[in-house]
């Protein structure tokens, strides 16, 4: 606790202070200073300062949190150190070592800095136990944009909450404000929507409503059949593809069967990727079904299923070069193409019935 913190608290007293068990007020009879265990009344300024000096953690803790006027930001930072579940004493015991939470693939640690201030460290959950010297360290929140841009294979990540964040980096010694900015670059708007959910005010926009709002080339997606919305969610909105927990459904009365996901932060509306994909699927669903007759072996048919599954699960890179027992092995696929497809890449010996 610093002198400034104590004086700031005393000056805030006439407006009333309540923070983690500390209650301070001031009226004509003097100052009141209440802690979870004690209550002091009718204090003059000097006596107030003496009592405050006996409770430095409560004072510095209040001083830290009162800087965050915006509730979503304050609540997120408090969540990081479990402030609603742990007493000030517990936290001040634990904070020198660090208190950590996971936010998607982010591992966030709060530590006590001088005079009860906090500093924050941020790294990939996969690096939670790594020595900081083994990681590339950053201190500027803006650098998060570059880290979030590509996956391990160098591919562009248009969906920021895809579970493909690269590891090997650490942001160190961030202020609370810098931490929030960094988190917002990794996972935009997640803190704001999480807070709204905590407050029971998450404004969910369901698929139908989102679809009806679209104009231009996306105008068509309100024609996507209801059952296909399930397939959209299964394709795009599960933990293996996105760390947000889907809170939207077909509409308010029609929940989807697809699991919502286990993410800490909610998804309140189909995102632009889902809308863009839904446009393609709307057009594909408008095609008439046909019956085709195709000649192939039982194993070749099974191989088609293997190929679809391997692509859908992003497994193609994992299939060993010589593993011709896997239907999605490249040589198996090339053999099937050589045997069954023409130069234009279409299956031969297919007839429409």
């Amino acid at each position: 606790m610093t002198e400034l913190q104590r004086v700031t608290l005393r000056r805030a007293a006439p407006n009333g202070v309540e923070c983690d068990g500390l209650v301070v007020s001031h009226d004509r009879s003097g100052y009141t200073f209440e802690t979870p265990a004690t209550r002091h009344e009718q204090l003059d300024a000097e006596a107030f300062d003496d009592v405050a000096a006996d409770h430095p953690w409560l004072v510095s803790n209040w001083h830290y949190w009162h800087q965050f006027a915006e509730p979503s930001r304050r609540d997120f930072l408090r969540w990081v150190e479990g402030a609603d579940d742990r007493s000030v004493a517990d936290r001040y015991d634990a904070l020198p070592e660090g208190l950590s939470r996971e936010w998607g693939q982010l591992h966030i640690t709060a530590e006590l800095a001088g005079a009860g201030e906090r500093r924050y460290h941020l790294r990939h959950v996969a690096d939670a136990g790594a020595e900081v010297d083994s990681l590339d360290t950053y201190t500027d929140p803006l650098d998060a944009r570059d880290l979030a841009k590509h996956d391990d294979a160098g591919r562009y990540r248009p969906l920021k909450t895809a579970p493909t964040l690269v590891d090997g980096w650490a942001f160190v010694d961030l202020t609370g404000r810098e931490l929030l900015q960094t988190v917002d670059f990794f996972y935009p708007a997640t803190v704001a929507n999480w807070y709204r959910e905590q407050e029971g005010e998450l404004d969910v926009t369901h698929f139908r409503e989102t679809a009806e709002r679209q104009t231009g080339i996306y105008d068509v997606i309100d024609e996507l059949p209801q059952e296909a919305v399930e397939w959209v969610a299964e394709a795009c909105c599960v933990d293996s593809q996105c760390l947000k927990r889907r809170e939207w459904d077909e509409d308010v009365e029609t929940p989807l069967d697809v699991p919502r996901g286990d993410g800490e932060f909610p998804c309140r509306e189909p995102c632009s990727l889902v809308v863009a994909a839904a446009r393609k699927w709307t057009k594909l669903e408008q095609e008439e079904e046909q019956t085709y007759e195709v000649t192939m072996t039982e194993s070749e048919l099974a191989q088609l299923a293997d190929l679809v599954d391997a692509v859908a699960e992003g497994r193609t890179d994992e299939i060993r070069e010589a593993d011709v027992y896997d239907g999605a092995n490249r040589y198996r696929a090339r053999y099937l193409r050589a045997k069954r497809m023409d130069d234009a890449g279409r299956f031969e010996n297919v007839t429409e019935r």
């Binding site: 248009p158 917002d184 704001a192």
Partner: protein
Amino acid sequence: MKALVIAAHGSHLNAESSTPTFSHADTIRATGVFDEVREAFWKEEPSFREVIRTLESDEVYVVPLFISEGYFTEQVIPRELRLAGWDVADWNSDGLSATHVTLESEDTGKTVHYCGPVGTHESMTDVIIRRAESVTGDPDVGPGFGLAVVGHGTERNANSAKAIHYHADRIRESGRFDEVAALFMDEEPEVDDVTDYFEAEDIVVVPLFIADGFHTQEDIPEDMGLTDDYRKGYDVPAVVDGHRIWYSGAVGTERLMADVILERAADAGVDVGDTLETVREATRAAGGAR
């Protein structure tokens, strides 16, 4: 507190599409004119739909990083930002003259000063000229040179071509270049025939696009005959039909664009002090294309 939101298109496919937006945002962030500066996108995150709620500020200036008034500035962005009572008539624009309107965003209750796009602001003319300077490496480029301002153009929206003609006219009237032409990809006169429109041996070609991508890196260089395959690249200048073509790539990547964004916000009421001069000087010192 007051915030600036730069509203850009972004891309699901091209990682570099958002790079100029981030660069201009960083330039403005560093000036300290705004308490917060945030980028928002149609195709990336944060989306237009959610950006306002990420801000601490109650006063938000939104500048669309788009070339023309039209579908995005009149329908998509106001709708996605949930601007209460938005009516394009409030802009009272002839397709070039939108400045700003002040409305409330329905989901946050914050005050939003919604500005016209960067592409139609008069200071965009200076960015085109700066682009010509940076691609030729000559701060006095003009005499002996022709300048082609290239737009996408479309039969579907008359406003699309207006910004291109507007800036071409202004540069022509300034007399700095011997000849100035407005050319298009999807309407007449076409950029394919660029050399037909100039007597001058040297022609600077500046595409009025926000980000480098398919059109500015593939279509236009191939259409003009700078290369038969964009993957092989091209020289600057490249000789076509006896003319030297100084092709600059998208004007939106020019660092001076940060100035236009600030101008838009200043027109909407932000006190920027002498920041505009500072940005102009700093972006010149830092050079042109990135």
